[in-house]
Each structure stands twice: as structure tokens, then as C-alpha cells.
Amino acid sequence: MSVLQILDVGLALLVLAVAVWTIAAREIFGAVVAYVAYGLLLAIVWIRLFAPDVALTEAAIGSGVTGILLVTSGARLKSAGKASAAAKPGLSLHLSAAALSLLAATALAGVILALPEPSPTLAPEARQELAATGLGNPVTAVLIAWRSFDTMLEKIVLLLAVVGVWSVASDRFWGGAPAPLGRANPQGALLLLEQTLVPLGILVGVHIFWVGANAPGGAFQAGAILAAMWMIVMIARASEPPRVNSLWLRLALISGPAVFIVAGLAGIGMAGNFFAYPDGFAKPIILFIEAFMLLTIAATLPVLVAGPPRRSFGP
């Protein structure tokens, strides 16, 4: 056994242990912390499986954004005094859930070990087609060129999620802003973090977006990083969540899919098919679309975290 293999086994055991911790934790906050750690460990697993794009996404979305969503909702539940009020599930429910999970996991493990070797893959076709797009990163080509239709529609899913979150507001608060993300007087450490990390984070985000055409990265991961920076700024109270009827906010939220659709429709004139790119111009068009996707993702995630409007719209 080489050192790397021993490390892999250790990593796998650690992932399992943290997963058990997530389930067994008694406090919501403890469970969320465990869940965030679990996401980061999974990201390392993806790196070891040579899937850096998936690793970046797991770290940014699976661990980062989901983590802050869970922390904020946990805090709100606690302040509402509802965290422990719900009826605790009984032992039989625990046992049957455990049995079902164990059965599913065993079946999946058995089946995955029995999958054909070498596994059928589209990699040769992808490599062949990649040249036509002018991109160097096949993952970006899948997301923005070959399966762009899925990517565009996923942004509509995000937009509907925003509408869903906003729709549980009180009628009287409609048009207003969500509650602030942080306390009224932020501590010095938080301000320091905001002033030092945010400029760096914005640079990293823009870099990950820019290199995404040729290397691991892209609009989604970069958007998640920029979203995190905006959330830090809001937690430090250097800016407040925007009003839900702000035209600028709404334009930012739809710009990604809107530009995507316009480019997709133009494809039939320029390249003979919807969502096709003309030869030689694929890369600039893709980067143009991705820039607006970046904006939409960076705006959508903090809006989802900020929640429904809770303050009246008015002067």
C-alpha cells in the first residue's frame, strides 16, 4: 500500500465519521458545523478522484452556501423558540430510517462495483468536439455549449426558488427588504475579515471565472465565491439586503438566463440551430454568456439566504 492509498482510506473513514456526527449531533448548530466539514471533506474526495470542477462546486455550494443557509435558518428557528418544539421521532422511526438507508447504500455499493469496466464514456467524443468550441475545459463545454439548455433552465429553477422564498412574506412587507443578515454592531474581527477577505475573494472569484474556459472553474463556482463575499459584507453591515422590488436586483437575477436565451435564439440565425454557436465565435459568446451567469448566481444565492422581505417598503 502506498502512502496515497493509506491517506485515501483514512479520508474515506473520516468522511463516514463526520457523516455519523452530522446525524448524531443533538444541537442544530453542531449538526450544521459537521455538515460543512463533511462537504469540505467530500471536496477533497473529488480532488482525489481527479474531478476538480466538482470539488470546487461541492466546496462552494454543497458546503459553503448550504452551510450559511442552514446556519441562518437554525438561528431563526432558535430565536422563534421552535427548534425543540417539534415532536421528536420515535425509536422505531429511527431504526426503520437507518435500515432503509443501509439497504440503499448496500445496494448502490454492490451495483457500482459491478458496473462495466472500462466504464462507457463520452470522453473521446468530447475531446473531438472540444476544438470546435475554442475552450480548453471540457466541463465548461458541457455546461455552456453541449448541454447549455439544461444550464439555462437550471437558472430558471433558481429564479423560481427566489419567487418561492419571497412568496412566504407578509403582504404588508411586499416591496420591502429582508431583515439584515448580521447584528447591529459588528465586532472588530468581523470588520477586519470584511476589509481583508472581501477584496481578495473578489479577485479569486473573477480569476476562477476567467480561467474556467480552459481550466477547472467557471461561472458557477466563481458566482458562489462572489456571493459569499457579498454575504460577508452584509453580515458586517457594510451593506443591507436589497428591496425585493428593486429593478437593479431583478435585472441582475434574470440577466444570466435572459442573455443565454437571446444568444440561444440568435443561434438559429448565426449557426443554423437554437443554442448553437457560429464557428470561430463560440468562445467569446460563451464568455459573454458566462459573465452574466456569474452576475445572476452571485446575486441569487445571497437573496435566497436573506429570505423574504421583513421590512416595509417606504422612505
Binding site: L122, R147, D150, R250, G267, I268
Partner: protein
């Protein structure tokens, strides 16, 4: 394999498929950014355009007698995504366009932005979510790629769940959260199964998969996971717990769309899975199991519907039972048997007639609740005389649910009954008959007090135009009973079960 090659070639009119999906998507974006009254205007203006697109696609399918195919970006599967419209897609597209238009027309009174304000919460959300549901359904009806269909299922979930709690009452939030839990559980299982199929065959395209699928453990597990997930979304017994509170608590126009259309979206994906992706599996036992769950749903849902004191709950429980009939398509239309034509036509006819009948009944129930101020069935005495058109729509919808001639429900149940007898599935035949009797019982429970003599003062008379929207849908449900043979030939276009059998 010749047929497989033909099904992969793009055809004339294919671009219409992309436009059909993008139309409501653009509507969502425009409504979101313009907001206020524009959300309503955009939705109502796009409804007729979408209907024309749906009719045009159905016409092209009918004229060529074969699926209409489009490869997005001109890139063929497995690297690209294809859209395919066949007979099943054609009828579902037109049905969705008609019901969304009727529900939108009906909802103008409930979801108008109030005078004096530029934008209000419930109207803003309603008109956007309605278009979101419509876009998702179109995608589910013509998607030909398992991951693309997953995106459609997600769109449908995120558009449908918030509609349930639009009124903001605490009990509706509980219903919506339960719905969300079931729907997300379904999504995860579906995605897991799709990933397994991709791992085994390196493609997500339905036609390509159908030519490669073999009875391996991975395929069986994928089929089980995806079916379980989709059944949770379709609310088939015993995964139905979320449906009655969700459908009974939503605003009437939303209930009509949720009960008439949304559950059919995931149902069509189950049909695609078993008849289009997996026909090569020796799945007789699984198909009979689905039929058995459907039978249990028919009996269980009908008996519970009989006991509901409130009209909207009764109609919601009746949806549980009527969903059960849909699943008889699996044992009765699988394999290569002469009766499968009846089984297939009967299952699809049930899908269509229930969509129109149930939408009409929920719209009528909304009018009754508004005019009476309550929907307690026991206090309906004299209501039939006070609002005759509303109760006519309710009764015609009920006629189709019972399966009395002439109605789409009768045609559906008659075809299913014929197929059950021919296939020797006597139990299904008995369940079909018992289900009809039970449905007659719960429809009678509504109409009997309403038609009794009595004086009743309405809080406000129902709006004539909204009554007509409900009545129009009920008339379509009845008119389906007069469908000519050409209509049933259309339903068979692109049905792959026979072609792909080894």
C-alpha cells in the same frame, strides 16, 4: 436498429419544440422583471400563443405520423440533448395549454393587483409560478434526455410548491413543506437512478438507452429508484400523504392546475421510463405491481373521498383514486399483445379526461366556496338552484370521474376494462367496476344536497365568465367521449413498446 436511427434524425418543424419551451420561460423572466400588473398581462397574452404552438406541434406529429425531433445546438445525442414530440406529447401539450389558459382566465379575479398599489405579493408570485409550471410541463412532455427531464421535474417542484401556501395561512405552510419533502425525495431518487444508467451505458438519451438496456443489477436498481421517486411526485398510494392537504388548501385556480396537470407531469416521465427506456427489461412482475398499487389507490382514495365533509378535500381525495387508474396502463399496455393498444389508449384517455374534469371541478369548487362562504357539503341545500352553471360544471366533471357515458372517463374506463378482460387480469376489471361505483357515491354526495329544494342566500353571485371557464373544461372532459378512431391512432404515434421488443 433502423427505427432507432430514424428516431434520432431531426425532423421538419423541430425548432417549434424549443420555442414551445422558451415561450413560458421568457414569460417568467418578463413577468419577474416588469412585475406588478405586467406579470398578469404577460401570462394571459402568452397563453393563446402557447396554445397555437401546441396545436402546431400536434398537427406536425399527426401529418407525419412520426415523432417530431430536434437536436439542440444541432448536436445529436449522446453528447447533445434531443427533444421529441410524439402522440402522447401532442395531446398533453394541448391539454396543458388549454387548462393553463382556463385557470389563468379564472384567476384574474383572485389574483389582480389591487387598485392603488403597483405590485402585490400573491399576484406577483401566482402569475410567475403558473408560467413556471407550464414551462416545466412542456419540457416533461417533449424531453428525450433523462437529465433534461430531471431539470423539468425540478422546475415543476419549485413552481408548484409555493402555490400551495400562497394564502399564507399556517396550515398551508405545513402542507407545502410536506409536499416539498416528498418532491425533493423524489428528485434525489430519480437523479440517482439516472446517474446509474449513465454509468452503465454512457448516455442519457431515451432512444439510445432503449437500444442498449439489458437486465443488469444496475438497471434494475436504477428503475426501482427512479420509479419510487416519480411515484412520490405523482402521489400514488402509499406515497400520497402530501397530496390531499396540498391540493385542498391551495387557491382554486392553483388546485386545478396542481390536480389536473402537475401530477401528470411526473406520471408521463414514469410512462417514458417503463415504455420507452426500459421496454427490453422482463418487467412483467414490476408492471403488475404498479397496477396493484394503482388498484389500491382507487379503492383507498374513493373510500376516503366518500367520508370528506368539505368539497375541496373530497375532490382532492378523488384525485388520489383517479391517479390509481393511470397506473393500470403499466400491466395493460406492456409487452406485445393485441390488448395493449386498448390498454395504452385507455390509460392516456384517463390522463386527459381526468385533467379536464378535475380542473373543472376545482374551479367550480372555488366559485362555490366564494359564493357560499364555506365548502361544507352538508350545507349545500338549494345551492344547485342558486348557481346552476357552477353545479352543471361540477356535475359534468363528476360524470366523467364516474365513467358514465358519454364522457372521456367512460371511454378511458371502457378501454381499460376491455384490456383487463382480454389480458385475463380479472382483479383489475373488478377494481375498475368498484371504483366507478364508489365515484358515483361521492359525486352523488355532492349533488344530492345541492339539488334538493331549499332556500339559500348567496354572499355574492358567481361571476358568469368564471363559471364559463369551469364549464368549458368540463365540456371538453365529456366531449372526449366522442373521440373518433383517428384520435386513438394519434395516441399510438411514436409508441416504442412494440418496436423495441427483442
Amino acid at each position: 436498429m433502423i427505427e432507432t436511427a430514424a428516431a434520432l434524425e431531426p425532423t421538419f418543424g423541430g425548432p417549434l419544440l424549443v420555442l414551445a419551451i422558451l415561450l413560458p420561460v421568457v414569460g417568467v423572466l418578463l413577468s419577474f422583471v416588469l412585475g406588478g400588473r405586467f406579470a398578469e398581462r404577460v401570462a394571459l397574452a402568452l397563453a393563446p400563443v402557447g396554445l397555437v404552438l401546441a396545436l402546431a406541434i400536434a398537427f406536425l406529429v399527426w401529418r407525419s405520423g412520426a415523432p417530431v425531433v430536434y437536436n439542440i445546438a444541432g448536436l445529436a445525442p449522446p453528447l447533445g440533448i434531443a427533444l421529441r414530440a410524439d402522440g402522447l406529447s401532442g395531446v398533453m401539450l394541448v391539454t396543458a395549454a388549454l387548462i393553463v389558459a382556463a385557470a389563468g382566465f379564472y384567476a384574474r379575479a383572485t389574483f389582480a393587483t389591487p387598485e392603488g398599489s403597483t405590485e402585490a405579493r400573491a399576484p406577483f408570485a401566482f402569475w410567475i409560478l403558473l408560467q413556471g409550471i407550464w414551462a416545466a410541463l412542456i419540457l416533461l412532455f417533449i424531453g428525450a434526455d433523462l437529465f433534461n427531464l430531471y431539470v423539468g421535474l425540478e422546475l415543476l417542484t419549485f413552481a408548484a410548491v409555493p402555490l400551495v401556501c400562497l394564502s399564507g395561512k399556517p396550515e398551508t405552510l405545513v402542507a407545502a413543506l410536506r409536499y416539498l419533502m416528498f418532491a425533493l425525495f423524489g428528485s434525489v431518487f430519480y437523479l440517482l437512478g439516472a446517474a446509474l444508467l449513465y454509468g452503465a451505458y454512457g448516455t442519457l438519451d431515451i432512444v439510445l438507452l432503449s437500444g442498449r438496456v439489458a437486465p443488469l443489477p444496475a438497471v434494475w436498481l436504477a428503475a426501482g429508484l427512479m420509479t419510487a421517486g416519480l411515484l412520490a411526485k405523482t402521489a400514488l398510494f402509499p406515497l400520497h400523504l402530501w397530496l390531499p392537504p396540498a391540493h385542498a388548501n391551495a387557491p382554486a385556480a392553483a388546485s386545478a392546475v396542481l390536480s389536473g396537470l402537475v401530477v401528470k407531469g411526473s406520471f408521463v416521465v414514469v410512462v417514458r421510463l417503463w415504455f420507452y427506456v426500459l421496454p427490453a427489461l422482463p418487467g412483467d412482475a414490476a408492471q403488475v405491481f404498479l397496477g396493484a398499487l394503482g388498484s389500491a389507490a382507487i379503492l383507498f382514495g374513493s373510500v376516503l373521498a366518500l367520508r370528506q365533509p368539505r368539497l375541496k378535500l373530497l375532490i382532492a381525495y378523488s384525485t388520489l383514486a383517479q391517479i390509481g387508474y393511470l397506473f393500470l396502463i403499466f400491466p395493460l399496455a406492456s409487452g406485445q399483445h393485441p390488448w395493449t393498444i386498448d390498454g395504452w389508449n385507455g390509460g392516456l384517455m384517463q390522463t386527459l379526461s381526468h385533467a379536464f374534469a378535475k380542473a373543472a371541478m376545482f374551479l367550480s369548487a372555488g366559485l362555490i366556496a366564494e359564493s357560499l362562504g364555506h365548502d361544507r357539503i352538508a350545507e349545500f341545500t338549494g345551492a344547485g338552484r342558486a348557481m346552476p352553471v357552477t353545479f352543471l360544471a361540477l356535475g359534468l366533471g363528476g360524470l366523467s370521474l364516474m365513467g358514465l357515458p358519454p364522457s372521456g372517463g367512460f371511454a378511458a374506463k371502457w378501454l381499460l376494462l376491455r384490456a383487463s378482460v382480454a389480458a385475463g387480469h380479472w382483479v383489475f376489471a373488478l377494481v375498475l367496476l368498484a371504483g366507478g361505483l364508489l365515484a358515483a357515491g361521492y359525486v352523488f354526495r355532492i349533488l344530492s344536497p345541492a339539488l334538493a329544494d331549499g332556500s339559500l342566500v348567496l354572499k355574492s353571485p358567481p361571476q358568469r365568465s368564471r363559471e364559463h371557464a369551469a364549464l368549458a373544461l368540463a365540456v371538453v372532459a365529456v366531449a372526449l367521449g366522442f373521440a373518433p378512431q383517428e384520435f386513438f391512432d394519434f395516441l399510438q404515434i411514436g409508441r416504442m413498446a412494440v418496436a423495441a421488443q427483442p
